[in-house]
Symmetry: C2
DNA sequence: GCCTGTGAACCTTTTCACAGCA
DNA sequence: TGCTGTGAAAAGGTTCACAGGC
């Protein structure tokens, strides 16, 4: 294994942006990019791009820029995208359904190879070209299909148990879409996407733009508290 | 308007977590919480909770903790959740469909009041209790329904144009789900959710766990619990 | 005694600015 | 000359540790 440099988390989170920008660039048969151009495509600034890439190695050429294909290869290796990562989705509701059909996953090597739901009525139904399987089959599914990454798309109330079962079944990375805090053993990686939280953050800044009651929507009663799924 | 303290971005991003934790706490008829308990529920540490809340004001009582209802009110006011924010979703594909039906939005005061698609075949169809409208109707929709927040759920290729049209129509906050960089005028707030990028970040860390391809996913003996959310 | 509120220390991340090399 | 690579400075965020009030 290569020297295993310590790459800052913030940098890791941006590598996929560079990766995507480089794919676009390669599609247009452009051979080299400057940090400035790459920054523009990735929506960050040039100094950051150079600093980030410097953690991977000295892959650029002074006075010229970065070789697109070469950098693409380095980043995809770093991100582990040179291999496929079969994933399983637990929870085939609205969101699970959409995720199962989302082509962006497969396009990056994340093939959905299992759909699982706790509801017996859903088990056996087809979604895309997959048949929904039972929650109890998770261990078998994970082992047989060599699945390392699980996606939780259940209601909040089921998320912790599902995460536990995924870990039990052998999954060691989890992406949680359920609007609740989930805890996993330290050796398991966990990331979350919370749709309502993103809107609440926007709301914070939006509110500061419309200083007081004159502009903002007045219709509908003051928001009541209710549980999200 | 109150003194308008400067609340750090990192804190703003955590307020929704506290908000959710407090809702759960209130549901259980608990009257006060300590920073430690709140930290546990929100998946952060106690010092952070205290520091974050201190930016809002001195709302706790030493030796006691925070009054749940009172803090809930303060945070919801800070986040702008005391009013409703009607939203419009542009792009009624898989994801737009799921988002339109996602109950978590409405539950937090983000009612979906418009569905828009560029495809004439989709215009006029019903999704939930909304009829899909044409892209050209955006200005009217935004004005009539007093919409400040737009959600982009189109393919990457359409995202920038859609964002431009949303801004043109008067929207000043955008949540982008399209896997591409979108730019907007500085006075418009923009947040993004990229599903494939989250998986790529997991892939980075996952890869480092299984040094090379052969290793079966280690059946981890649950040791320490990791911080979540 | 207990738990908040907060300066101060510490760590991470970003930005600057320029040396170094093609 | 042009653009990378990187020390150094600045900014931002987290954690510590304890004073302060209930």
């Amino acid at each position: 294994m290569a020297a295993a440099r310590r790459i800052p988390e913030a940098t890791v989170a941006r590598l996929p942006l560079y990766y995507r920008a480089l794919l676009d660039t390669a599609d247009q048969h452009v051979a080299t990019v400057s940090s400035e151009r790459l920054a523009e495509l990735a929506g960050v600034n040039a100094a950051k791009v150079r600093k980030d890439l410097s953690y991977l190695g000295s892959y650029g050429t002074r006075g010229v820029g970065y070789d697109v294909e070469f950098l693409l290869h380095q980043i995809s290796r770093e991100l582990g995208l040179t291999q496929d990562w079969p994933v399983v989705i637990v929870g085939v509701g609205n969101l699970g359904h959409a995720l199962a059909n989302y082509r962006g996953f497969g396009a990056r090597g994340f093939q959905v190879e299992g759909l699982v739901d706790a509801d017996p009525k859903k088990v056996g139904t087809k979604v895309g070209n997959l048949v929904v399987e039972a929650l109890d089959d998770l261990p078998r599914i994970v082992e047989e299909r060599k699945i390392a990454i699980g996606i939780v798309a259940t209601p909040a109330s089921a998320a912790q148990e599902v995460a536990d079962r995924l870990v039990q079944a052998g999954v060691s990375s989890i992406l949680n879409f359920a609007p609740t805090v989930v805890t996993v053993p330290t050796e398991v990686s966990l990331r979350k996407v919370d749709l309502a939280i993103e809107l609440q953050i926007l709301s914070f800044y939006q509110q500061r733009k419309t200083p007081n009651g004159d502009g903002p929507p007045a219709h509908a009663a003051p928001s009541k508290r209710a549980r999200a799924t």
